[in-house]
Symmetry: C2
Subunit: 150 residues, 2 copies
């Protein structure tokens, strides 16, 4: 499967989240060798009553539980939006190998925006980064969601 | 109760974590008006198979679940070590009012060390910070733990 095909699966999850009134962001954790999707999640903060339940955190927690580990060596993450500071650090702790994301987030992102955590001396594992995958579609989904909320 | 008395409770939890071979860091979430400890947690990463299960994240998740909210307005956190980048951002998302911490963490901290997240334009809620509470005791517990592991 191509990066765009994985991102389309994440986008479908994000659209389902929007229907439940959650901010439409979703993440997949993939084994790039087998192509298997190890874990997936959309944002669950509001309905889960958990300030930490961003899509990336939930996907990492599920993948760690499934594989009984805290280190997701050799696994990749696809996420529809540039990860925030919390998630950027969680992705580093989990040792994700390649991070693919869609839209950029100037207001809250922490990869190419904000604190740019992977460039900080206190970051001890840096995934490879590919951005802009299905970016317009990922960004438009968020814009439409917040427009409808106003 | 004083800040030092709360920190001693956190230190007791951290010591219990060390006995289970978890990195001895612990956190409390307190209602400063009633004095009630709403939630508490030690680091659970290794035994919980969860890269995100730092003490602060676990305490936030428990407090959110208990109060059925994602916003811990007017609540304070006590934590034995300066929070990392992931936890600093989670504390901000959860709207913690006052953050009290013990030892500083130059290698991994994100409050007065590292990315200093609360000074970043992408941080949208900044708790008040008090550092150095029982700092020597908090730091020594970690030093002893890692010395024993070598």
């Amino acid at each position: 499967m191509t990066n765009e095909e994985y991102m389309q699966i994440a986008l479908d999850l994000a659209r389902q989240a929007a229907q439940k009134d959650e901010v439409p962001i979703a993440a997949l954790i993939v084994n790039p060798t087998s192509g298997e999707i190890i874990a997936s999640a959309a944002n669950e903060s509001a309905h889960g009553s958990d300030a930490t339940a961003h899509a990336e955190i939930m996907a990492i927690r599920r993948a760690c539980a499934k594989l009984d580990t805290t280190r997701l060596w050799d696994l990749d993450m696809y996420v529809t939006l540039e990860p925030c500071t919390m998630c950027a650090a969680a992705i580093s702790f989990a040792r994700i190998r390649n991070l693919y994301f869609g839209a950029t987030d100037e207001k809250g992102g922490a990869i190419i925006s904000g604190v740019k955590f992977y460039e900080a001396p206190t970051c001890h594992h840096r995934p490879n980064i590919s951005s802009g995958i299905c970016a317009d579609e990922c960004g438009q989904l968020l814009k439409d969601f917040f427009k409808q909320k106003r």
